[in-house]
């Protein structure tokens, strides 16, 4: 019954989509980039000094989107950490309880720096080649993930990760504020020298932002995995002051 209704709904929805936009979507085969895309392609070199137009758009032209995107990742890491507060010692940790054995242990340790290096490379070359902070950060996190998967005893400090991601986030916002301080008076403005096209040290703040993003993504994904697998070194307790202020004590049940 549910399936029939679902099918009917989807079918009628499909009918509408097809009947409404079929002509527009299926007929033309564009040979011309749209206005904004053209503007982006044209402005990439003069305005940002990056070779990768996508990076120029992501980090500079639409830098606020990226700040938001980083925030979303931060949010989900925060959320997973918050919601998995009770996982310590449970949750998915059973899945990770099996020790990988000697070969996996040492194999992982062997490739770990390589993976991390490739990740760092991708982050660093984001303005020149495909890649950037997100894929690079994910790659670095993969290394951490591999270690956690293969070694049941391995623990990671979420506290340290929190510090790293906080610092990286602050760095992003700080780099953005740099633009406010500069003569352009514009958040996230590319105020540093653009350098020469195609060189590693070019494109102003873009590599710096991508470095921050890469660090942040790596730290966040590591936190995420750590929280989900219950391999947090610090346990569940808070580091801050723990006494409830006197005037809030009224909530006894």
């Amino acid at each position: 019954m549910r399936k029939v209704i679902g099918f009917l709904l989807i079918a009628s929805f499909a009918f509408f989509i097809v009947s409404l936009v079929a002509r527009d979507l299926w007929v033309d085969d564009p040979s011309q980039v749209r206005t904004l895309g053209q503007a982006a392609i044209g402005q990439t070199i003069p305005q940002s000094g990056a070779a990768n137009t996508v990076t120029a758009i992501v980090v500079q032209f639409r830098g606020l989107d990226t700040l938001g995107e980083v925030t979303v990742l931060f949010l989900s890491a925060l959320g997973v950490a918050l919601l998995s507060g009770e996982f310590a010692g449970r949750g998915l940790s059973e899945l990770f309880a099996d020790d990988g054995g000697f070969i996996l242990h040492y194999g992982t340790r062997l490739v770990l720096p390589l993976i991390a290096l490739v990740g760092a490379y991708i982050v660093a070359h984001g303005h020149l080649s495909p890649g950037g902070g997100f894929p690079g950060g994910v790659l670095i996190a993969t290394a951490v993930f591999a270690v956690l998967m293969t070694n049941a005893q391995q623990r990671l400090s979420t506290r340290l990760m929190a510090v790293i991601e906080g610092l990286a986030g602050l760095a992003f916002v700080g780099l953005g504020t740099l633009g406010l301080l500069g003569d352009k008076f514009s958040f996230l403005a590319n105020v540093l020298p653009k350098g020469q096209l195609g060189y590693l040290f070019s494109a102003g703040i873009i590599p710096l932002i991508y470095a921050a993003v890469g660090t942040k993504v790596a730290a966040e994904l590591s936190t995420l995995v750590t929280s989900l697998t219950g391999s947090d070194r610090d346990g569940g307790e808070d580091h801050g002051a723990s006494s409830i202020p006197a005037d809030t004590q009224g909530g006894a049940r």
Partner: protein
């Protein structure tokens, strides 16, 4: 002659509708989340397809392979690509939180059945 974009549009819309159908009919919350990911995938393909141009190249300038304006003329639309980058990350974040929520619920209720996740109704 069927164009590439037509194929991609069709694929993406079919994926979106399939995902929707899954979200409407699956009885397992994990599967519902997977359906949502299928929708996401469809949407991402849809966005990418919008940036498609015939005979386009990756929108990256390469020093030393022809004049920059020549390169610019053949580039695909970079904007949808950057949008997709953002969309993927957001989709990932949502999925992570969704799965955590479902895990926690499973801990409490020992079920991921949609029909049994109805403590709140009416």
């Amino acid at each position: 002659m069927i164009s590439v974009s037509a194929v991609l549009y069709t694929t993406s819309i079919i994926l979106i509708l399939l995902g929707l159908y899954g979200a409407l009919t699956r009885k397992n919350l994990i599967r519902t989340v997977i359906s949502l990911d299928v929708i996401d995938l469809g949407v991402n393909i849809f966005l990418i397809t919008i940036g498609y141009i015939k005979d386009g190249r990756a929108p990256i300038y390469v020093v030393g392979s022809g004049s920059l304006s020549d390169q610019a003329a053949r580039m695909a639309d970079p904007l949808p690509q950057s949008l997709v980058l953002t969309a993927i990350v957001i989709g990932f974040g949502v999925t992570a939180v969704a799965l955590t929520l479902i895990m926690r619920l499973y801990e409490k209720r020992k079920t991921v059945e949609v029909s049994e996740t109805r403590g709140l109704k009416w």
